[in-house]
Amino acid sequence: MNTMNQEAPERREIEALLPWHAAGTLSRGDAERVERALSCDRELARRFDLVREELHETIHLNELLGHPSSRAADRLFAAIEAEGARAPARRSFDLAGRVAAFLSSLAPRTLARAAGAAAVVLLVQSAVMTSVLLPGGDNFILQSVPNTDGVSRIVVRFVPQATSADITKFLNTHKAELVGGPKDGNYTLRLAATGIPKEGLLNIVRQMQGETKIVDFVATKD
């Protein structure tokens, strides 16, 4: 049953949006509008099926185009290398920049060098996406710092092999957040709970010490 007037401008407008609805790139409001129209207009729904066929085959056609050779990457990075180092630029939307700088400071230098030398770009991507959020350091030190405001802070150092997923899980497990660092390879964590007694804090420290895949040395400071 077709409950919509096929000549109505509203219907034409909805129909024009079908390709974007199929691709999932409409705003929530437009998507809901299209869904409502599809639910009560069989002909429109049939045309939406045609759109979905087109979408499927367009993706297939593009995938048949294959991949570029490594020549493109070689040419690009040779050109970048030839341009040499440049001074850091400050950017206008710098919240992201500051976040980037923070994340950059966490990346192990050795990994950055190794990845920079890697010839296979996809491997580099994999390495970077794994490591770019990682704190680094050669050893691990964990110590409590004097508690002056009821908030427990702990200074930590992570093993270089720890992944961002490991560290995220570590922070979640211990209900802690990263609030500072790196300073001499150390990072400051703040525990979510406040007013933790000394024995409770020591228990948390001991639990952290047990996570040897993320930490390889723990020391407490009383």
């Binding site: 087109e54 993706i59 593009n62 294959g66 950017r91 710098d94 950059s104 992944t163």
Partner: protein, 186 residues
């Protein structure tokens, strides 16, 4: 694991971080390559152009203002470079005739239909669209660009984006009809 966002990568590239450049390239070069290849129809030229696109990103990252997605910015640069390259080659025009030159692994529409391969015929007809129509269909369906993003990349008003997409699909329906596939639309 949360991958570093494209915007963060651009910030790092603006500071001269080559590693961030490698990540951005690895993440986007395939789609940019395919977008350019569909315009240029020459793999070697497309490879050269994507090098130039990303070299522009390296040089101009500090000018990226975040008003559009990084992928949209990349496609806009790629499109500009591809069209500039096409203008330097008068024998390669953006018209229906050059569509015939595109390499397609499928049979012609009739033969494909003979094999009851509607999908193959559809791909052949998609490949047979004019560059303008092919471009907008690729941007919407393959590159998943919104109306607003297509408008930025192609440099046309949003209303024109919708109209162009409509006519591209209409033309596709006509090609399919000519190939013996009646869809009941247009």
């Amino acid at each position: 694991m949360q991958a570093t966002s494209d915007e963060v990568l651009i910030g790092r590239i603006a500071s001269g971080d080559r590693l961030a450049m490698q990540v951005l390239f690895a993440r986007h070069h395939l789609r940019v390559y395919r977008f350019v290849l569909r315009l240029m129809r020459d793999e070697s030229v497309a490879e050269d152009l994507i090098s130039e696109v990303f070299l522009d990103v390296w040089r101009q990252a500090d000018r990226f203002e975040g008003r559009s997605a990084v992928s949209t910015w990349l496609l806009a640069i790629a499109r500009f470079k591809a069209l500039s390259a096409l203008r330097r080659k008068p024998d390669q025009e953006l018209d229906d005739e050059t569509a015939e030159a595109i390499e397609d692994p499928t049979d012609d529409p009739e033969a494909a239909l003979g094999k009851k391969d509607k999908a193959a015929a559809m791909r052949k007809c998609l490949a047979g669209l004019s560059a303008e129509h092919r471009e907008i269909i690729d941007l919407v369906y393959y590159h998943e660009k919104s109306v607003e993003e297509v408008a930025v990349i192609v440099g046309i008003p949003e209303a024109t984006v919708k109209t162009r997409m409509f006519y591209a699909r209409k033309k596709l329906g006509e090609l399919l009809k000519a190939a013996g596939i009646e869809r009941g639309w247009p």
